[in-house]
Symmetry: C2
Subunit: 250 residues, 2 copies
Amino acid sequence: MRRLKATISYDGTLFAGYQVQPGERTVQSELETVLTKMHKGGKVKVTASGRTDARVHATGQVIHFDTPLTIPVDRYKKALNVQLPRDIRVLDVEEVAHDFHARYSVSGKRYRYIWNCEEVQSPFSRHYSTDTNGVKPDIEKMTAAAQYIIGTHDFSCFCAANTSVIDKVRTVHSLAFSWHGEELHMTIEGNGFLYNMVRIIAGTLWEVGIGKRKAWELELIIASLDRGNAGKTAPAYGLYLEKVFYKNEI
Amino acid sequence: MRRLKATISYDGTLFAGYQVQPGERTVQSELETVLTKMHKGGKVKVTASGRTDARVHATGQVIHFDTPLTIPVDRYKKALNVQLPRDIRVLDVEEVAHDFHARYSVSGKRYRYIWNCEEVQSPFSRHYSTDTNGVKPDIEKMTAAAQYIIGTHDFSCFCAANTSVIDKVRTVHSLAFSWHGEELHMTIEGNGFLYNMVRIIAGTLWEVGIGKRKAWELELIIASLDRGNAGKTAPAYGLYLEKVFYKNEI
């Protein structure tokens, strides 16, 4: 058996999320269906770096699976792309050591959140960015607020209530805002993220950017450990899982 | 009655084309449904600069309609965008003279055709560009071939067989290629276009770009007046109606 690591991209629009759910179209089920076909019906289990929610996109999700097939890895990539639906693409396949684990070996992740601030949002970006109806926030205020988030904290305030995770301490390495034309991009990198953490951070900093909250409130919100004190969860379709980092990677 | 001119953009992916067809979702039917609702059931007929086929996109389609309502034009735009599906957006509304006609007053049009030449096409561009499976054509050859097309010709060779149009003489003012990252864009401007003309030109020049035909063959293809001598019709989802020009406009 070889263990293969694949980097994949998917358009989350038509998926009920990454993880298999009975009766739903998910990224994992599409991957496992194609791999099982390639293995002549031998069930192949795919493990990802983590789930993504319904309509969340990925430009750099990472998965691993074990295979007895001896096809060269780049032919594996082509074979998968031929059979997979067009809203999932395999960008890279490599053989890895058996102790590599797409989820447990993760050392960090980077996400991107995109707001479309055009007065009239292009019909082409409706599934790929959050429409602000032309509202343009103050990114200096958002950047000031971000400084309270960068670092190691108990991020209970940014974690969806319905979670089983106990330790809510995470480290955010970077959190930055930039304009790309009329799109506002937030990039956030950290050693791990709680359920809905990026979307709640995006929604809270957005409220700072439009003057609904002050930057300094972030210190109190984080200290409160109370989800109720943070802002709204930003919509799923503006979120992208961009890169997954692994131990012994820069 | 006032005559209003509106510039609209639409994502053609989920439309059976622009023009009303029984039982199909079309751009015209969505527009007329919303306008008729705004007019309390009084049927409103929308006239466009021309049709676009199923899955063809528009960033600058133009329509006109007559209305007894006295709402200011920019409130008209907002009201339409609130009620229209998100894959149609109204970019601009202006009042025009009663002799303006979205179709008969057209003096020219500009279309764009996009090929995605990434080795693995992004899942996000699958409906918005034609995948070349990483093949990168020679745009100098395509540009050389384009010189035979620019000018006034009988373009029967670039017209889908199933058309009722008799006069197939049109003038192409410009036809150019440019790289945008790994995307190849073709822009073509002319005083009018025959049915499928832009897609057949794109398909034929593509064959020149990959060495399947020689640039000089274009002269013979055009002179033959025979659709059978031109190349394949390029896929609809790579095509965009970008701008419609009107008399007394530059």
